[in-house]
Symmetry: C2
Subunit: 215 residues, 2 copies
């Protein structure tokens, strides 16, 4: 009894309260600024206020931590970008909602260093290994999704038949990525204005006269 009282009288504040999610939240922010290599077990454990080995036990290797961080970031990305867009009706409106949500996600700096995938895909694009493959998988899924949204806007008749889904997916991704990059580098939303305008112009080229472009 006294022993129990003594130990409960010195409750180490919130130790043991670290969920995997809280760890990964911090890991994503650190990685968006310093990269997945610059994300060290030392700095991450210090930021969370626990020991290196305590944190390490959650994962098993740095590579596993990197993989888990990429997967967690994909979930955040999907929630931020697709979450609001599913309410928009299929077709051009949903395409616009996704592109708009993406640029909002960039502008709001959901991750401290801007778009997580812009940072880490540039970091790992000329490396080898499972982390690179994981990032590539995320990017492929994103590009296929953009192409599918363009295809659906053609099927609904809002975009003309000359619109090439793969080509336009490449272009929209390029413009948003450059918007993010310019926003981070220049600390000025001007680049995001350029990106939105370019996407709007490109949609106008293919949209039927009655179609409403909402970006």
């Amino acid at each position: 009894m006294p022993l129990a009282m003594i130990s409960s009288a010195a409750p180490k504040p919130r130790k043991g309260a670290f969920t995997r999610d809280a760890v990964l939240r911090e890991a994503m922010d650190l990685a968006s600024v310093k990269g997945l290599e610059g994300l060290t077990i030392g700095t991450l454990s210090e930021a969370l206020g626990l020991s290196k080995s305590g944190l390490f036990a959650h994962f098993g290797s740095k590579e596993e931590l990197q993989l888990a961080t990429v997967q967690a970031a994909q979930k955040v990305f999907n929630a931020e970008v697709f979450g609001p867009a599913v309410r928009a009706p299929k077709g051009l409106k949903r395409l616009c909602a996704v592109l708009d949500g993406w640029l909002d996600y960039v502008e709001q700096e959901i991750f401290r260093g801007g778009c997580f995938f812009a940072s880490v895909s540039a970091e790992f694009d000329s490396r080898e290994g499972p982390v690179r493959e994981e990032i590539l998988g995320c990017m492929d899924l994103w590009m296929e999704t953009l192409a599918r949204l363009v295809r659906e806007a053609k099927e609904s008749g809002e975009l003309g038949r000359h619109a090439d889904p793969e080509q336009l997916a490449f272009e929209f991704n390029a413009l948003g990525m450059a918007g993010n990059s310019g926003f981070q580098l220049r600390r000025d939303p001007k680049s995001l204005v350029f990106a939105r305008r370019a996407i709007r112009e490109r949609l106008k080229t293919f949209a039927q006269p009655y179609a409403r472009i909402t970006i």
Copy 2:
């Protein structure tokens, strides 16, 4: 005399033959793959076959090495991209020559990890300090150059007056950067085909009927 003979009988191969340029050439390649932080004095000196401190003496700090590497990469970029383009006449043809030369520089992998500035601007865009500022200066110069080339193509009458130089500079840079990024990530020139096609289409939107687009 015998002493001199002994020492010259064991000539350490090519020690002392390292010019600053040779060091920076290797530094640019390493940085394009591993980043300017992943460019360590240890790996660089090992790749060159000299001692850490021997290499270090050339610079004085890691930051100075990073700054020198960025400046050296800018010179290579200028030589590769603007070198061939100055032969093209001012106006649309020179704009096309620069964009074409840029995509060639990306495709030829002049740096092992693809476009040097794509790698390091993503790495440093959310950091602070002189290296970030140096990279920003390079990117600003590049964007201003693209805008100037568009302006000259308007002045020559080949591009219509609705062409917005800053907006188009943003778009061309976005498309080329995404071409590089996709090329590195997917190891497939498809992205560069998309980039070239998008640039061509965008130029067509503003070009006068008689103007020749050479990309």
